[in-house]
Symmetry: C2
Subunit: 339 residues, 2 copies
C-alpha cells in the first residue's frame, strides 16, 4: 500500500486529543510502531501510559515517518503543517483532520505542499474532549473525507488504502470547497441550532421547568451544545462564509414552517414535515451500487480526480484502492441516480 518494500508504513499522529488520540489508539493496534506527539507534556505522558511511543521532541516523533496525521485545535493546523513538513522527507504523506478544508488546502498550495499534503476530515466525534476521552473505535466505519488533487494523487491513493485497512473507513473524495458547503449543512448547522435552542432556554424564565420536562427530543436537539465552546466557535469561524450562506436556507425553512403555523395552514405544515421525514428516513435507508474503476497510474490524473470528486458529491464513497505498476483500481459505492 505504502511504497516501502517489505514493511508496514511508519505512521505518526501529531496532536493527540479526542480526535488525534482516537486515531492514534486504533493505529497502534494495527501498527505497534506508530508514534505520537502533543504540545502538552501531560498528554504525552498519558500517551506513553497507554503504551504508545511519544517522544518529547516533535522532530523525533515524525522524522522517519511515511505518513503523518495532523490533529489539534483548528487554528493551529497551518503552522503544525509547516513544522511537520520541515521535519519530514519529501515522500512523507501528510494529512489533517480539521473540520474545514478550503483554507488548509489553499495554505498548503501557497507553501508548495500539494504534492504530499492531502486535506482530510473524519466524520465522527463526541461532545467530550482530550486523550482521556479518546477511544480506538471512534472512527470505525465512519465517513472520512479526503480531498484529491492531481499533484498529490499518489499520496491520496496511499491514504485511501490506509484508512480502509485500519479504520474500515468509507472514504469520501471531495473538492475542498464542496466539502465546506456540505459540512456547513451536515455538521455546522446542527451546532448552530443546538446552540440557539440551549441558549434560548438558558435565558428563559422557564429554564428550570424546561430542564424538568426535557425528554429525548430536547436531549438530542441540544446534544452538540455540550461540545467545548471554543472548539465549536473555531469550527464555525473557519467556515464562516458557508455557515452564513447555509443558515439562510435553514432560516427560510424555519420561516416557511412558522408561517404555515401562523396562518393556520395544517396541510402546508403536514406537507413540509412529510418532506423533512422523507429526508430523515433516507439516512439509515441509503442503498448503493458497487463499482470498480481503473485509471493509469501515470498521466495528468484529470479523469481520476474528476471521477473521485464526482463520486463524493453524489453521496458515494470508496471502499478500496489498489495501486499496481501501471493501473490504480478503486472500489466504490454510489447511490442510484434517482436517489
Amino acid at each position: 500500500m505504502v511504497d516501502r518494500p517489505g514493511g508496514r508504513p511508519r505512521v505518526a499522529v501529531v496532536g493527540t486529543g479526542l480526535i488525534g488520540g482516537s486515531i492514534l489508539l486504533r493505529l497502534h493496534e494495527a501498527y505497534p510502531d506508530v508514534t505520537g506527539w502533543d504540545p502538552d507534556p501531560a498528554t504525552r505522558a498519558e500517551g506513553r501510559a497507554r503504551g504508545v511511543r511519544v517522544p518529547d521532541d516533535l522532530a523525533e516523533a515524525v522524522g522517519d515517518r511515511d505518513v503523518v496525521f495532523l490533529a489539534g485545535p483548528l487554528p493551529s493546523l497551518p503552522e503544525t503543517l509547516l513544522t511537520v513538513a520541515a521535519h519530514t522527507g519529501d515522500r512523507c504523506v501528510v494529512t489533517d483532520v480539521g473540520s474545514t478544508k478550503a483554507g488548509i488546502a489553499g495554505f498548503a498550495a501557497e507553501h508548495g505542499l500539494t504534492g504530499r499534503f492531502v486535506p482530510g476530515h473524519p466524520m465522527a466525534g463526541t461532545e467530550r474532549s482530550g486523550l482521556t476521552a479518546a477511544v480506538p473505535t471512534l472512527f470505525d466505519g465512519a465517513a472520512w473525507v479526503l480531498c484529491p488533487a492531481s499533484e498529490g494523487i499518489v499520496a491520496f491513493r496511499t491514504l485511501v488504502g490506509l484508512l480502509v485497512d485500519v479504520f474500515a473507513a468509507r472514504v469520501v473524495p471531495m473538492d475542498p470547497a464542496v466539502h465546506d458547503s456540505v459540512v456547513a449543512l451536515s455538521s455546522h448547522l446542527p451546532h448552530v441550532l443546538a446552540g440557539s435552542l440551549a441558549g434560548a432556554v438558558a435565558d428563559s424564565p422557564l429554564r428550570d421547568a424546561v430542564l424538568g420536562l426535557a425528554a429525548g427530543s430536547f436531549r438530542d436537539g441540544t446534544r452538540v451544545a455540550g461540545t467545548p465552546a471554543q472548539r465549536t466557535a473555531d469550527m464555525l469561524f473557519q467556515n464562516r462564509d458557508e455557515v452564513l450562506r447555509q443558515v439562510e436556507r435553514v432560516r427560510a425553512a424555519l420561516d416557511e414552517l412558522t408561517a404555515a403555523l401562523d396562518r393556520g395552514d395544517l396541510d402546508a405544515l403536514v406537507a413540509r414535515y412529510r418532506r423533512a421525514r422523507e429526508l430523515r428516513h433516507a439516512l439509515p435507508d441509503r442503498v448503493f451500487h458497487e463499482h470498480r474503476r481503473a485509471f493509469p497510474t501515470d498521466g495528468d490524473h484529470a479523469a481520476e480526480v474528476a471521477y473521485l470528486r464526482d463520486l463524493g458529491a453524489a453521496g458515494g464513497h470508496l471502499t478500496g484502492c489498489r495501486a499496481g505498476a501501471d493501473v490504480v483500481t478503486y472500489a466504490g459505492c454510489r447511490p442510484p441516480a434517482e436517489g
Copy 2:
C-alpha cells in the same frame, strides 16, 4: 391508593397506539385485569394477541373502571373524553396523554368534568408509531405531567400514586398554561428545528452529499423529523400560540449567534456557546433536595394546589403520594434555589 376496598384499581386504556399501547403493556404487568380499546379493529386484535382483554365495544371496555387513560391522536381527545365520561361512573378518574394541556383542561371545565378529569402528559416517545412499536418500558422513570386543580384533587392524588407505583414516574405537577409554554421549548421547538434542518437539506442541491457525510450531529439534530408528519403537525397546531411565541426567542438566539459570526466576534461566539453548554450540562447533572409536605384531605385545597404547581414550575417533581383519612402527604424532589 384507589378508594376501592381490598382490590387493585380497575384500569382501562382507550387508544392503544405507541403511547397508549406502551402504557397498556406496562399496566398489564402490574394489573392483569386492565382493559384496552382502540377504534381500529386490527389494533384491537393485536392487543388481544398480546394477552390483554380488549372488547370490541368501548362501553364494555370502560364501564366498570376506576381509572381510564385516554390516548390516540390529539384532535380526537375531547370527543373521546365525552364518550368515556358518558360510559363511566362519577367516581371514575379519567386522564389523557395529549401533548398540550390548556385546551383539554378548558374543554373538561366547560363540560363539568374537572372533578374527575386530570390533564396528563408523559414525557417520552419515539419517532415510531402504532401498537407494534409499543414497549412496556417506554415510560419507566419518565417525567409525567399531571395538572392539579382543587375540584379534582382526589383524582389527582389517585393518579400520582398509580403513576409512581406502576411506572416509577417522576410526576411533575403543573398549571396547564405553564405546561404548554414549557413544552413549546422542551419538545415542540426541537421538532420545529429538526423539521427546518431536514427540510432545508431536502431542498438543497447538496442533498446527496450531505446524506453521505451525515454523522452524529446531523442524526441527532434531525431525529424527530422522522416522526409521522401528521402527528407533529397536530402537536404544533394544538400549541400554536406558545410555539410561535417561543420560536421568537429561539430565533433571537440564532440571530445573536449568526451576527457574532458575521461581524467576526469570536469572543461573543464563545461566550454564547459557554452559556449554551452550561445549560446542556445542567441536564444530566441535576441535583435535588428531597422533602415531604402534608396537607389536610379536606378544605379548599388552595395551599395544596399552590405547592404542587410551584414545585413543577421550579423544575421539581413528586415521587410519592399517600392519602390517609385526614392528611395527604407528598414526597417531592426540588432543585436547589440557586439552580
